[in-house]
Amino acid sequence: MSDTTDTTPSTTFDHDTAREGSHAAERDFTPDGRPLPPKRDENLVSSVSAEQVTGEASLWSEGWRVLRRNPMFWVSAVIIVAMIIMALFPQAYLWFYNGDPNPDGVCTLSNSVNNPNAPNGGRPSTTNWFGFDIQGCDMYTKTIIGARISVFIGIIVTTFAVVIALIFGTLSGYYGKFLDTFITRLTDIWFAIPTILGGIVLLSVMGTRGMWQVAFVLTVFGWPSMLRLMRSQVISTKEEDFVMASRSLGASNMRLMVRHILPNGITPVIVYATIFIGSIITAEAALSFLGVGVALPAVSWGLMISQAQTRILQAPHLLFFPGMALAITVFGFLVMGDALRDAFDPKGR
């Protein structure tokens, strides 16, 4: 279901089609309507006509056509937009809510789930939708506010990783030689340190741990995979005929990279970046849960669950609401990545 577009034969953007002569690999039908990997020469004879394969513009519009018809794209888009609004303007989810007796964020221990006399025992009720936590804070308010750190860290870290990948991945892939060897060796070293482990080590010796510190640490350990992807994209795009053609026409290196290689090699990076946001959100939550992520009094979903540890078995709502918020957010980015890949990067599947 997540890949309803799987079987949709999308127009294959194939630069070789133009010179597809009698010598070219010939195949009557690819049964599922796609060219079979890994040979690039094969063209899908019947459903790709020459007019359809005109270039970048049609790739994007074709992708958008596929994307639009994918219900999972819309589901994930709604989730992502909802979460971004929650992160930027939590009031949008709070103004109609009257459950929090302390809008200033001051919590009352008398409401705690530990207090048998708390309203409804601190459990979810019609006034307090998500119930109260151990400190007597309203869980709905906290869950809404908690979106900010998750979403922001996910986006900040991914932005940094993409920028690093765009600059150094492109240079490394394009120029090769010493620079490439150096960067590749460096990523080899980084790959030896799993993000969570590195994060635990570095964060456990850091004094202050706010959103920016956690984002910094996750960037420090998370960047190499994006760079590797960008680099390999640049290397394969560099060999394409249209780049060779531009080069032989005297296009400068800068122009080749910016005008030709980047636009054609970036789709897998965009797809990966979307999924990467999801995995960074998970990583942040895990670090906060372990107690090395954002520190109190910050509100984060991981931290909420961490604080509830001792009571989770008795009061599952302490786990359920922040857990669901996390899962839905990550789900949104994962599914969006899948949908984008189906639409724009059929080869990457």
């Binding site: 070293i189 340190i193 969570i196 482990l197 590195g198 570095l202 107690g291 669950i305 078995l313 996390l326």
Partner: protein, 326 residues
């Protein structure tokens, strides 16, 4: 083949020192007093501080500190600690990963815990491969079937749920509500570890299932599978021998990368289920603000990760002859 393994092992050496130095430098090059940082907010008693200062050779230049930490350079006598018997070469390469704030060697803390974690990890790994690959094969063989959609949706859900949420949810559901599994795995026995191992392996299991599915489906339409069918081989052999073998190559690659996630996951899972492994030691050390233990054990885990990656790479070469000649 042999040359490939040798080359791969030679490449391992700079990565090994690079990664350990990176970690060491990040910890000890942070601004401020690293020893105080290891202890968090808590005030440190002077003796312990002196011992740790001495132990991590903070007066030396960073490279010398690192050399001593790794056991490449001789360790100084620790004067401040009369109980210390540390002398000569004793560092990471000799299996010493530093001292806790209670002055207990980290290697000591790990000694009892490692077998439990190894057991948990292997169980998780086996679950991942068996369940993940079978689910992937079932889905990949019949694309678009009910089974396929079920596998796709359930794996997506599992991937989206963070491992600690999954852990507690499993504990509540299977431990408390249904009573199928013990909530507490503090004994570390096989039965107790089944649930934690499933939780630990769940996310990777889901990835493996999806990867196997895609890869198998792709390979099923590959030319050589058509050839195998045209050879008149039974379908079982076409799939099991020809298509699956090729499909598992990316899965093996994934397993290598995945080990890293498994280690981070082990810390969380062991913490939740109270499994007496090294993950729980890290989990508890974080709570006690015993940074030295956190850093020590994490470094050990990074080493294990590096070695496992090496093993996976060699396996990869065994499975895919093309790689050996690259």
């Amino acid at each position: 083949m042999f040359r490939y393994i040798i080359r791969r092992m030679l490449q391992f050496i700079p990565v090994f020192f690079g990664a350990t130095f990176l970690l060491f430098a990040l910890v000890f090059a942070v601004p401020g007093d690293p020893i105080q940082a290891l202890a968090g907010e808590k005030p440190l008693d002077p003796t312990t501080k002196a011992v740790l200062d001495d132990r991590y050779n903070l007066d030396d230049p960073l490279f010398v500190q690192y050399g001593k930490y790794m056991g490449l350079l001789p360790q100084d006598e620790i004067e401040a600690d009369p109980n210390s018997d540390v002398a000569g070469f004793a560092g990471v390469l000799q299996g010493e990963f530093g001292f806790s704030l209670t002055r207990r060697p980290v290697s000591d803390i790990m000694a009892d815990a490692i077998p439990v974690t190894a057991k948990l990890g292997i169980m998780a790994f086996v679950f991942e491969i068996i369940i993940g690959v079978s689910a992937g094969v079932m889905a990949g063989l019949r694309r678009g079937s009910f089974m396929d959609n079920f596998v796709l949706l359930s794996t997506l859900a599992v991937i989206a749920i963070p491992v600690f949420v999954l852990g507690y949810a499993a504990q509540i559901l299977f431990g408390v509500q249904l009573g199928w599994a013990p909530v507490n795995a503090s004994g570390g026995s096989f039965n107790e570890l089944i649930l934690p191992a499933l939780v630990l392996g769940a996310v990777s299991l889901a990835y493996i299932a999806r990867l196997t599915r895609t890869s198998l489906h792709e390979n099923l339409s590959a030319d050589y599978v058509k050839t195998a069918t045209a050879k008149g081989l039974p379908r079982k052999r076409v799939i099991g021998r020809h298509a699956l073998r090729n499909s598992l190559i990316p899965v093996i690659t994934y397993l290598g990368i995945d080990l890293g996630a498994l280690m981070g996951g082990a810390i969380i899972t062991e913490g939740i289920f109270n499994v007496p492994g090294i993950g729980r030691e890290v989990f508890q050390a974080i709570t006690r603000s015993d940074g030295a233990v956190v850093v020590g054990i994490s470094t050990f885990l990074v080493l294990i990760f590096m070695i496992s990656t090496l093993v996976v790479d060699v396996m990869y070469a065994l499975l895919d002859p093309r790689i050996r000649y690259e």
